[in-house]
């Protein structure tokens, strides 16, 4: 097992290197740069080429690509992401600010998704082809068909129209004011959690149905074991593996992928930072964010694989 873990950890290095090369080149292919984005907008009639060249030199954009890449790689090796080209602030500072919000939202949404998906999926499987199953299927298909940002807009409209209230628009950390924090984040967490619970519910239902038809479940039933015990001790452990994978990968995605939902609820999260960094051609920040998300995905994948072995004794790694 230790050897397997080491192998997996080492395999992350070439993957991350590939991601780094790809994002570095892709960003340079896109037209425009941070200097144009900053200076060629409004009030630009007095701009001089000298000023723009001076700014490019300051940011190292006048250097050959290989030099820019190696200097970025050298920084990464020291875990130094450098400075944001747009704000001039350290990138770790830019990310740290948004990370708490994004992590909390991802945790809350994933918790909601899990709490909905697992019991509903089991219920639908156990009560297959009854009204309960149909209701759960309608609920989950509606979730799949409804984008979370749209649900968010709907929530805000209902709150505005009925309660004349909308969630706070400035983030307050949980430890500063839990009530204010939850009043802001519970709504996007519900909107996103519901969307992702739908995928999990359907996955849970089909996996459970498959397991419930297995011989060992039939044997357990024939022995007269209590249904709750069969489900929790024998069926769930086997059926939950694909659901675990889906929810875990969604958790990784939620960290940086909630752009529109963040916009709708005015959340200062990593998703918005990502989009703004790309729009501003902030190469250093975009590269850092891509590396962060890629690392996060790799770690989540790794943890899920290890969890497989723990949950299913049949799986052993060499």
């Amino acid at each position: 097992m230790a050897r397997y873990i080491l192998k997996r950890l080492l395999a992350m290095i070439p993957t991350l290197l590939g991601v780094a090369i790809l994002i570095f080149l892709l960003l340079r292919v896109v037209p425009g740069d941070v200097v144009e984005a900053r200076y060629l907008g409004q009030g630009s009639q007095f701009q001089s080429q000298d000023l723009m060249n001076q700014e490019r030199a300051k940011l190292g954009l006048d250097q050959p690509l290989w030099k820019q890449f190696t200097s970025w790689m050298a920084g990464l090796a020291r875990l130094d992401f450098g400075l944001s080209m747009w704000t001039g602030a350290p990138i770790t500072e830019e990310i740290k600010l948004r990370f708490a919000l994004s992590l909390q939202l991802a945790l809350m949404a994933s918790t909601i998704a899990t709490l909905l998906a697992i019991p509903l999926g089991i219920l639908a499987a156990v009560k297959q082809d009854t009204w309960i199953d149909y209701a759960v299927r309608v609920f989950s298909i509606a979730g799949l068909a409804t984008p979370s940002f749209w649900l968010g807009i709907l929530m805000i409209l209902v709150m505005l129209t009925v309660f004349k209230w909308i969630p706070p628009m400035v983030f307050t950390p949980f430890w500063v004011n839990p009530w204010e924090n939850l009043a802001q984040l519970i709504w996007p967490a519900l909107a996103v959690g519901y969307r992702y619970s739908a995928v999990g519910t359907r996955m849970m239902r089909s996996a459970m149905l498959e397991v419930l038809r297995e011989d060992y479940i039939r044997t357990a039933r024939a022995k007269g074991l209590w249904l709750k015990l069969i489900l929790s001790r024998h069926a769930l452990k086997n059926a939950i593996l694909p659901v675990l994978t889906v929810i875990s990968l969604e958790f990784a995605f939620l960290l940086g992928g909630l752009v529109v939902t963040e916009q709708v609820f005015n959340l200062n999260g990593l998703g918005m930072l990502f989009v703004e960094a790309i729009a501003r051609r902030d190469y250093t920040l975009t590269q850092a964010l891509v590396m962060l998300v890629a690392t996060f995905f790799l770690i989540v994948n790794f943890v899920v694989d290890i969890a497989y072995a723990w949950l299913d004794p049949r799986i052993r790694y060499r």
């Binding site: 200076y39 630009s44 009639q45 001039g88 500072e93 729009a279």
Partner: protein, 530 residues
């Protein structure tokens, strides 16, 4: 930029002319103003920034030398840090007397040394220090501080628009000692002499300021503080005002957004509107055939029914008035009856389009001729205006393909000169011919002229109006300039003047809309009814 001798008083009058009435009420003290800001500036140094997003959250903490003050119908130029000023007879020396006892937020006294250091940074930036408005002050020879309360600007040539350029809301006065130690200090820090002191800036989230108890204008500000909340999404901004999480958003809303806010808040909302000193222009690349032929360019403008568009588009977009090179209603603007004589402004659109077809035929442009119109990937108002333009050009037999370029890459793309016809943009903090018409100068004088043409006659007219000492003479020259750029040569086409719509909480008092979203953001006169 060339100087003028007639614009100082006119600058205030431009804004005066667009006024609305504001009832005098006794201001109440206290409360925190929450307002939405639609973008976030890259850093906090206004001297090196062009975005309005800088002015809204940062201006309340700074002072400028001069400023526009008062409600719309009584708008006037006043000294902010300057108590008085005089211009030498030869028009080359501007002497400003500063207010005594003005303190920075760190408790130190503000003196002429600070004004000189701030303007030196803008006009003569040291190597490695960016100044985005350096070109605007190319006429300045030297800035002197002969005594602690006197600042002298010496010019190379006469410049009537010099006062107007000192009204720039971006020219914050910084502390000289700080600039001497680190000219980049203000990129990450806020410390001025304004009505509010800096409390915190959480990147991507908000800026908070609190009342400056030592503000030089005793009794102001009325508010205890402000919170500027960054909100990129217009739906979130509308929801914030509707849900009273934000009292106001100072840039502006679309007509539909205004209606949505009004329908929710009813009498709890006040709507202020004004012509807006911003406009989308159609740039025509003179280096691309057949657009090097002025008959083709004239046909493009003749195809546009601006009068009908004004009625229709103003219902869905932030545009309204039919405009020439000056904001309609301002002193140098051409009156409608005269403007209607220019190509593309004729009230009889059928006659106009018949002439367009004739010109295209004469120039050898075949029916169904296809060209690409490059537009910027910003929904409002680029999208509706782009659709309108394409529809209008199709009515004279032109087949137009729209190419939308993402906002950040847009100006870089049109600077390269590969486009045929494209959308361009102009926005100012003050309606002033020198500032507004600079855009149209030959490309060797202004690289931001993306039409890529050279027109010495036009340049000469610009210089003449700029030096004109008589207002009527200057008006005449401005009209000649306008006729040449929009009609005779059709170098650029104007779409419609932007229209600024600010629906805000009725609790907000002491703030009036101006034709520029760069102005009136220090919040010293703003108060809340509860």
């Amino acid at each position: 930029m060339r100087p003028t001798l007639a614009s100082t008083a006119m600058a205030a009058a431009c804004l005066l002319a667009l006024g609305s009435n504001l009832q005098a009420e006794t201001p109440k003290r206290g409360g925190t103003l929450n307002f939405a800001v639609v973008a976030e500036p890259p850093n906090t140094d206004c001297h090196a920034t062009t975005t309005f997003a800088m002015v809204h959250p940062v201006a309340p903490q700074y002072s400028t030398l001069l400023e526009f003050v008062g409600p719309m119908d009584k708008l006037r130029i006043e000294g902010d840090l300057a108590e008085s000023w005089e211009v030498s007879k030869d028009g080359l020396t501007y002497t400003f007397k500063l207010r005594k006892g003005v303190k920075f937020h760190d408790g130190s006294e503000m003196t002429s040394k600070d004004v000189k250091a701030s303007y030196d940074k803008i006009v003569f930036p040291p190597p490695g220090v960016g100044s985005t408005r350096k070109g605007q002050y190319s006429d300045v020879k030297a800035i002197e501080a002969p005594d602690p309360l006197t600042v002298v600007f010496r010019l190379k040539e006469q410049s009537g628009s010099f006062i107007a350029s000192l009204l720039s809301p971006y020219n914050f006065i910084y502390k000289a000692d700080i600039l001497a130690k680190d000219p980049h200090w203000y990129e990450k820090n806020i410390m001025g002499t304004g009505p509010f002191t800096f409390v915190e800036h959480v990147k991507g989230s908000h800026v908070v300021g609190k009342k400056n108890p030592n503000y030089w204008d005793k009794g102001k500000p009325y508010l205890d503080g402000f919170r500027a909340i960054f909100m990129r999404d217009s739906a979130a901004q509308v929801a914030a005002v509707r849900g009273e999480r934000a009292h106001i958003q100072f840039r502006g809303f679309s007509p539909a957004e205004r209606d949505s806010i009004v329908s929710t808040l009813g009498s709890k909302v006040t709507v202020q509107e004004s012509p807006w000193d911003c406009i989308l222009l159609v740039g025509i690349n003179h280096e691309k055939k057949p657009f090097d032929d002025k008959r083709v360019r004239r046909a493009l403008t003749l195809a546009l029914d601006r009068h009908e568009a004004s009625k229709a588009l103003s219902k869905i977009a932030i545009v309204k008035a039919v405009a020439g090179v000056q904001v309609p209603g301002t002193p140098f603007a051409t009156p409608p009856e005269e403007l209607n004589k220019l190509a593309g402004y004729w009230p009889d659109i059928e006659k106009s389009r018949a002439e367009a077809r004739r010109l295209l035929k004469e120039a050898g442009v075949p029916e169904g001729f296809q060209f690409t119109f490059t537009n910027r990937g910003i929904p409002m108002p680029y999208e509706p205006l782009g659709v309108w333009l394409i529809d209008q050009w199709r009515k004279v037999g032109l087949n137009v393909k729209q190419e939308v370029i993402e906002a950040a890459a847009y100006f870089g793309t049109i600077r390269k000169g590969d486009t045929q016809v494209h959308m361009d943009f102009q926005c100012g903090y003050i309606v002033e011919p020198d500032l507004d018409m600079y855009k149209f100068l030959s490309t060797d004088r202004n690289p931001a002229n993306y039409g890529r043409y050279k027109d010495p006659v036009l340049d000469d007219l610009y210089d003449k109006q700029s030096r004109a000492t008589n207002v009527e003479e200057r008006k005449r020259l401005v009209r000649q300039f306008e006729k040449r750029v929009l009609d005779e040569e059709a170098h650029y086409l104007m779409t419609l003047q932007w229209h600024r719509i600010i629906p805000h909480s009725a609790k907000v008092k002491g703030w009036t809309v101006t034709p520029s979203h760069y102005l009136n953001n220090t919040l010293d006169t703003v108060w809340l009814t509860q």
